[in-house]
Amino acid sequence: MNRDAYEAVIGLEVHTHLLTRSKLFCGCSTEFGKGPNENVCPVCMGMPGVLPVLNRRAVELAVRTGIAAHCEIAPRSIFDRKSYFYPDLPKNYQISQYETPICKGGYIELPGDGNPRRIRLVRIHLEEDAGKNIHEADSSLVDFNRSGVPLVEIVSEPDIRSAEEAGAYLRELRNILRYIGASDGRMEEGSFRCDVNVSVRRKGSSELGVKTEIKNLNSFRFVEKAIEHEVARQIDLLESGGKVMQETHLWDPIREETRPMRSKEFANDYRYFPEPDLPPLVVPPEMVEEVARTMPELPAAKRVRYADDYGLNDYEVGVLTAERETADYFEAVLPGLNNPRTAANWVMTEVLRAANESGRSIAEAAPPASEVGALLRMVEESKISLNAAKTAFAAMCKSRKPAAAVVEEMGLAQVSDESAIAAACDKVIAAEPGKVAQFRGGRDKLFGFFVGQVMKAMGGKANPKVVNEILKKKLAG
């Protein structure tokens, strides 16, 4: 079985909810977690005589997404009706975009050392979501709260070559969407959905093999597993003389395998035609410029800037830019500090740990970034030791008090007063004549012992640098 002779050709279709307050075509709330059919009106329920009216914010977010993905924004795009019958589709057609989507082309750059890899996009378009079905023993129950929620569909070219690359693409895409405030990317909650198209071909060939579509994937891990599973299945099939059929598979998360969908309901002719109830969507260049102007800095740009301006390495950059919240926090800690690395380290260790341990966001678990900045400035100015800062930080997380107040209250200020330190050194030296003799006799390692004793005598508050200097002098005789 020669799997290495083959390469996987993978394309991903992501559907994500846009972060709007109201639905795409009506004034119902998009708020998650309401009781069944509470966020529903005649429009999103498909009652007779209703008409769609477009949500401007959804258009702005779609344009933002297109700009972030380097797409061409169509000055004029059309909505189309996509017809199929399904209980959760109230009009039995979905308002989507077919021939002229709002964004075309574009690419997502995957973070990587040296050579960033680009995954090209085919298109991005706007469409409305359908309702949700719950399956009982002998019936299904339909809730239309989700019906009409705005979606963008992001379609990639089949440029992805491995399960790992697929995971990287999804993570970066989600990161970008969260950075620009277009989506919160919660895959497990259903606001970020991914379908995978997988085919294989012999390495070196430029023809595309027959592809399988895999649906029902609700985590990045499952996407990667499903791809690995399907690639192996297809290769084995071809190697044993079989042919890959164009099918749709469902991912079974319990068995961790794919199986073909039984239902013929999906063998559909969607009969697309332009939506007569909506005029063409015009996005003038001024609007695109305005959206581009108000875009937050994207992860890729931050990665470059952190490396170039702050001298941070790939790993550090990666951790700090993995979430917009982390990056924003880091940048808010920075002002006034001489060494950005201090801030970087602190955020990567103390702050993220506080958030992870408590299971909450950085904003909830850690003190305000400005206060952490103040704390670290005190360390830089030798007003407190690094250890003292850690103690202060833990207290600040609990009490939410400002850095200066906490340092004061807990008496963490570092002593740099040379006469006080000299006095402590004298005391220690006087108390350990034997060890002093040994040190002077050549046992250099004992220096640490003396430092420790001085620190103990000063309650840990002595400035270590000053202690070292003075002790060295005194021990030298």
């Binding site: 009216v53 299904s140 005029p279």
Partner: protein
């Protein structure tokens, strides 16, 4: 075609509709007398310009009202025969 339109037709009905369709389609074929290669299609005849809504929630929850016409419902949901994937 009937499946796409979700219309199940009784056999004699199907016969009649098929005959009607054939006649109508034959009549409609006369459109092919026209050369429309250089003609732009008209999808709409209203004023151009897409009015858009501000992103505000204007609807209040009214599940009873929305379910009032439901042929079958349960615990606030619309009830249908079990959907088979």
């Amino acid at each position: 075609m009937a499946l796409l339109a979700r219309l199940s037709l009784a056999p004699d009905e199907e016969e009649r509709i098929r005959a009607n369709m054939d006649e109508i389609l034959a009549y409609i074929d006369k459109l092919n007398e026209l050369d429309t290669r250089e003609v732009e299609p008209t999808a709409q005849v209203g004023d151009p310009g897409m009015p858009m809504r501000d992103d505000v929630v204007t609807n209040r929850p009214d599940p009873e009202g929305m379910l009032a016409n439901a042929p079958a419902s349960e615990r606030g949901y619309f009830k249908v025969p079990k959907i088979i994937e």
